[in-house]
């Protein structure tokens, strides 16, 4: 996309000269660097509950965030009004962080290199509502048809189209058009008047609506949600204590997100408050483990052509054959740590200061057949689906909660068990990985990551892996 074709130029009459003037205003009190992040976001969502389409909503939000960096200090202000006087005012407020003579600089803004990871012709947000409402109706019907024990179904389809413009005092001018869509389904099952059980499924990405019609249909996600609910009807109490845990492929990659991903974000390491601080070059996992964070996979939920500081995203190796290779950097941390940005500067919206974040985090495939991994476990837990996770960066302790798991007895998967939280310590947990499967899978596209109050979309992935020792928080 060219600047002149962007919504900011076309609808709000913003010119390159305006951008340069705002940056000059932002640096009028000194400061090392300034940037502008313009955002124009269209959102829509449709939900069905009890087979009734109860809600349909759409909205527009827009604004600009102005950031000034002076040494380790950041000044930030934003405005949801894009008129020149309001943007100037925000620039003046952000400028207050610096105390020194203003810099008279000439900013020569040039559109930088970027990927083309989601060459979407028509974003789902731009299609007729009638087509999208059909997705939740189909999901509702399919989940109910899956099994007579399904008695409640909720489905939410949500999409958005984010148009962004980043202009920096380094001369970078970056534009992107970021579509995103997700279908989520929750089903409740009950048998013989007993207590209900719930199943969840969902997915999507930076895709056209066709994705839900041809590749991952509402019926696919609905069957998955219904299946999980029905399976859980026969669940027994989860075991408690240390044991061998086998993680299935795909979404269980949330282990990596919590155990190592957050701890490798550069802001925590620059400040020396992460359990991984100062450990680049050290062994933090078994040699079977290579973990990457890759923002450049086409169409993925966690992918971006450019990060929210205008830098192209990259494939970053975090752990290679068990050895810690590097951190996820944004502009501020990379400048202070004298390293390159890894294209990991992200923010929730124009109202938020960017920080280092993950994109799609996964472990590379190994050589074991998944069946052999299960067969090698005399007694343990096999986890195939999870809810959320959390990590304490400083101690390194992390949790993630299994929503579908099974006992492994004598090398065979036997009974489903009730929800249980798994807990481990980041720099230690992956040292116990003793087998890595050849079946790497990325998740279906539902992840949301929260950090310091900011939510961004992420992906995870993992092959089947065996962890010899992990604490399982059941009751049995």
């Amino acid at each position: 996309m060219r600047f002149s074709e962007s919504v900011f130029a076309a609808r709000f009459n913003i010119t390159k000269q305006d951008l340069e003037a705002y940056l000059a205003e932002a640096l009028s009190q000194g400061g090392d660097y300034a940037d502008l992040y313009f955002e124009y976001l269209l959102t829509s969502s449709i939900s069905i509950d009890e087979s009734i389409v109860k809600s349909a909503a759409q909205g527009v939000s827009m604004g600009v965030g102005v950031r000034v960096i002076a040494g380790e200090r950041t000044g930030y202000a934003y405005s949801d009004d894009l008129s020149p006087e309001k943007v100037r005012k925000a620039a003046r407020v952000a400028a207050c962080i610096a105390a020194g003579p203003g810099k008279v600089e000439k900013f020569d803004l040039n559109e930088g290199a970027r990927h083309n990871l989601y060459p979407v012709l028509t974003a789902p947000t731009e299609t007729a509502f009638a087509e999208r409402v059909d997705l939740v109706k189909r999901a509702d019907r399919a989940a109910r048809a899956y099994d007579p024990r399904i008695f409640q179904v909720q489905a939410v389809y949500a999409d958005n189209l984010r148009q962004v413009l980043v202009a920096t005092s380094d001369g970078v001018l970056s534009l992107d058009r970021q579509p995103l869509a997700r279908l989520s389904i929750s089903a409740l099952a009950r048998q013989n008047g007993g207590p209900p059980q719930r199943g969840h499924a969902g997915g999507g990405g930076r895709v056209e609506l066709d994705y839900f019609l041809k590749e991952k249909t509402p019926e696919h996600f609905a069957a998955e949600a219904a299946r999980e609910a029905v399976v859980m009807l026969d669940a027994v109490d989860a075991p408690a204590g240390e044991m061998t845990v086998v993680l299935g492929p795909g979404w269980p990659g949330i282990l990596l997100h919590e155990a190592v991903g957050h701890g490798l974000e550069a802001d925590f390491n620059r400040k020396g408050v992460s359990a991984f601080s100062g450990r680049v070059g050290q062994k933090v996992a078994s040699e079977l483990c290579t973990v990457v964070d890759d923002g450049t996979i086409a169409g993925r939920r966690g992918s971006l052509n450019v990060d929210d500081e205008g830098n192209p995203t990259r494939r970053n190796v975090l752990i290679e054959n068990g050895v810690l290779r590097g951190y996820l950097q944004d502009r501020l941390s990379s400048a202070l740590m004298r390293s390159d940005s890894t294209g990991s500067g992200r923010r929730e919206s124009y109202a938020h200061i960017p920080m280092p974040r993950m994109t799609n985090t996964f472990m590379l495939a190994g050589e074991s057949a998944p069946e052999d991994i299960i067969r090698s476990v005399p007694k343990g837990l096999y986890c195939v689906n999870f809810g959320g996770g959390q990590v304490d960066i400083t101690s390194g302790n992390f949790v993630f909660s299994a929503s579908e798991s099974y006992l492994i007895e004598d090398g065979r998967i036997t009974r489903p068990v009730r929800n249980a939280t798994l807990i481990g310590n980041g720099p230690e947990a992956l040292k116990y990985v003793s087998m890595v499967g050849n079946d790497l899978r990325l998740d279906e596209g539902i992840g949301v990551c929260g950090k310091e109050g900011q939510s961004v979309q992420v992906g995870v992935g993992i092959p089947t892996i065996k962890v010899d020792r992990m604490t399982v928080g059941g009751t049995a």
């Binding site: 969502s45 449709i46 509950d49 009890e50 009734i52 389409v53 109860k54 809600s55 349909a56 909503a57 759409q58 909205g59 527009v60 939000s61 827009m62 380790e72 200090r73 950041t74 000044g75 930030y76 202000a77 934003y78 949801d80 925000a90 407020v93 509502f129 409640q152 409740l188 009950r190 209900p196 059980q197 719930r198 989860a238 408690a240 204590g241 240390e242 400040k271 408050v273 200061i353 809810g387 996770g389 959390q390 304490d392 960066i393 400083t394 101690s395 302790n397 992390f398 949790v399 909660s401 009730r418 929800n419 249980a420 939280t421 807990i423 481990g424 604490t471 928080g473 059941g474 009751t475």
Partner: protein, 450 residues
Amino acid sequence: MNSDCLVELAQDIIKRACAAGATDAECTIAEGDEFSANVRMRELENLKEAGSRGAGLRILIGSKTGASYTSDLSPEGIGLLLKSAIELADITTDDPHAGLPDRDESGSIPGDLRLHSPDVETLETGFKIDCAKRAEAAALAADPRIFNSEGASFDSHVGRRIFANSRGFTGEYRTSYCSLSAAPVARDGDSMERDYWYTMARGFAGLEPPEQVGRIAAGRALRRLNAVKVETQRVPVVFEPRTARTLLDNLYEAVHGMSVYRHESFLAGRLGEKVASERITLIDDGTLPGLFGTSPFDDEGVPSRRTVVIERGVLKNYLLNTYAARKLGMKTTGNASRGLTGNAGIGHGNFFVEKGDRTPEEIIAGVPNGFYVTELMGFGVNIVTGDYSRGAAGLWIRNGELAFAVSEVTIAGNLKDMLLGLEAVGSDLEFRGSVAAPTLKIGEMTVGGK
């Protein structure tokens, strides 16, 4: 657009929606100014200041609904807001329970609820930064083992909310809050731990002194050092107020009207039954002046009120908005809550357990071998079944005393059993947010460790 015109804008949007074919309409307008200063290692790190506003519209055409929102309050933006909502009503399904509250249910609590304190707006930036610096400095000075810090923050917010509907309700109120927090990092050998403490109030006068915030935060980080993982075992578990409060977050979800009518809660269909120890009385009260869960009316224009949820162990009421109430054949409890868009959801007012008569020290003294939980992690609570399994850290209780730090363990049970097995309620109830609990002791849970 002038700020004072926002009430008129809301009413105008309602009128125009009805003129365009809506049979009912409701409009929310919110505006706010935020300030945040973060210091780290005695230096200013981040300074953020900005204001924003937005409008949301929900309309009904018969029993079909459509909703829209915008942060663009220009005539063009409002035009699009109206057009979107009307169009969307066309794709939803007739829902006989959808609709606005009945006229006789609308209204607002009279009088000053002390939700807005003018001092928040007059504080100098330098003074706010200095408060954060003092809090962090006190933490860093507390002990040589406090060697680092994730910083200290002073945050403040002032806001205004306007709500109008086509049944003649118009209301507005202003809110403010400020908060001060510190997050020091302690180290001893290979052990590194972080913790935090904070104070929050409607006005600056209600905040605890910065030095106290820093000292408490430091003490919390220090007592976590050199934590060990204990053996897997079943023991009594004592939740300090900060973690006890999270149990109320779980209970709130279980009495949430939407979860109840969908049978998504282990407390669905159990009104009038004994669901908890008789030591527990659980209240939702949106009328307490100056507190964080207080408002004159809910997000559908129904007056806030006091609702007894559990009375001495017996489940008395769910928390309802108009929709959930109609689904369940009940009356709204004035708990409607929403952002700017969509149908009203459900929220709580000040949601708390009435305090008991035992001090936390007395409760701990009564435990020969047990776990005092100061930190909980993760999302391992299933409201449908009540299954509870979370990561935990804290202190081990041996012979009635806090003996050593514990981490990397889980605690697990089922909320049904945990409620019935509640053996002690502390006298230390205080509000640091809209959900508050005193120290709570549960007779037995599984601690998962080695």
